[in-house]
Point group: C2
Chain length 218, copies 2
């Protein structure tokens, strides 16, 4: 038990840090408190992440990496599926207690720690938006979409995932969704984004998989 695999140690630190940031925000979280959760020495944190801010950066970045993988290379092959999987990950992460804690910390302390806010946005939602813009540009080019301003559209798209539910979570007014509810919300968002609500069946290449646009009376 003395020596963990390097990645386990790193992950243990990240988890403990996430919990602490969630509990107490950024400033009020001490390196000592983090290390006490998992034992060992503060040195580990500093040698792995440089400083407290580096820990914050790493947390945001790792989660964003995970959410963004579905938007990788092959995403343009099946746009809808890529958007769905991205959505599932994005919704799960952005409404998780840990991420809400980090966001709350960034918002609350945006004045005193402008860097924190910037890091949060740029490493997280900012990267998501950029990647989406690339995808939408490609979709425009091959005729899958007609979008005047892909940057605005990408931002809207992410906004749909964030939703009033994210706000309620952030305000402490809602409990987490189960995976079925996440799925339902994500499908709705993606299909609204692609097809709108005004009901003209789209005529693109692949046969429209209009799952759950109409209520299923089950």
């Amino acid at each position: 038990m003395k020596t963990q695999k390097p990645n386990e140690r790193r992950n243990a630190i990240l988890h403990a840090a996430a919990d602490e940031f969630f509990e107490h925000g950024y400033e009020a979280t001490s390196i000592d408190a983090i290390i006490q959760r998992i034992g060992g020495s503060k040195r580990d944190i500093y040698s792995e992440f440089g400083n407290k801010e580096g820990l914050f950066v790493a947390l945001i970045s790792e989660w964003a990496d995970y959410a963004l993988t579905p938007l990788g290379e092959s995403a343009s092959l099946n746009l809808r599926e890529a958007l769905l999987e991205f959505g599932r990950r994005f919704v799960s992460i952005s409404t998780s207690p840990a991420m809400l804690g980090l966001y709350r910390a960034a918002v609350s302390e945006a004045r005193r720690f402008p860097d924190l806010a910037r890091i949060f946005y740029e490493r997280g939602p900012g990267r998501g938006e950029s990647r989406l813009v690339e995808l939408l540009d490609a979709a425009n080019k091959n005729g899958e979409a007609q979008i005047a301003d892909c940057a605005i559209a990408a931002s809207h798209f992410m906004g749909m995932f964030r939703d009033n539910f994210h706000m309620r979570r952030l305000l402490g007014l809602a409990t987490p969704l189960n995976s079925k509810q996440v799925d339902r919300a994500v499908i709705s968002a993606v299909d609204i984004f692609l097809f709108g609500v005004s009901g003209s069946p789209k005529q693109s290449k692949e046969p429209p998989p209009r799952a759950s646009r109409r209520p299923r009376h089950e």
Copy 2:
């Protein structure tokens, strides 16, 4: 200058309160500080609003009233126009310094003052969502839309208005939009919501006013 019209006094208080809440958050704002901005006696605040929380309620409620008027009676007559006007008001208000301050206060102090968070949501976005659900239900009934779950769709719709831009504003990373930019974003959101991005021109009753879906090379 001694006696203002009652509504002017009320509005002066609301403006001063908004400024103070924006500057210092909720808890750190004192009634004294508010009254010092406009002169007069604290009694005016307590007789008009009851207490500090009443002031907060009034602020949120008045702004929400304003944003919601386009979604009133006649909204179902021209759905797109109603959504556009609602959007313009919603975006302007939700990204205004004062409202961001109140939201930041609600988020930051959600733990200590859960009532504040609840008030914010229920008097603001919650009412918007409810009213939208009614509208969308109506649109479903008269064939203008085919929406499986209007509550989810309404939430998505508001999410589009909120957008990554609202997040950047909240994090202190962006300056306000001018009215032309607001318009552009709102039109994009409404048209994505109604028609989607995958380019099937819709075929509903009124001739589709597809303003600015394609870039104008000006």
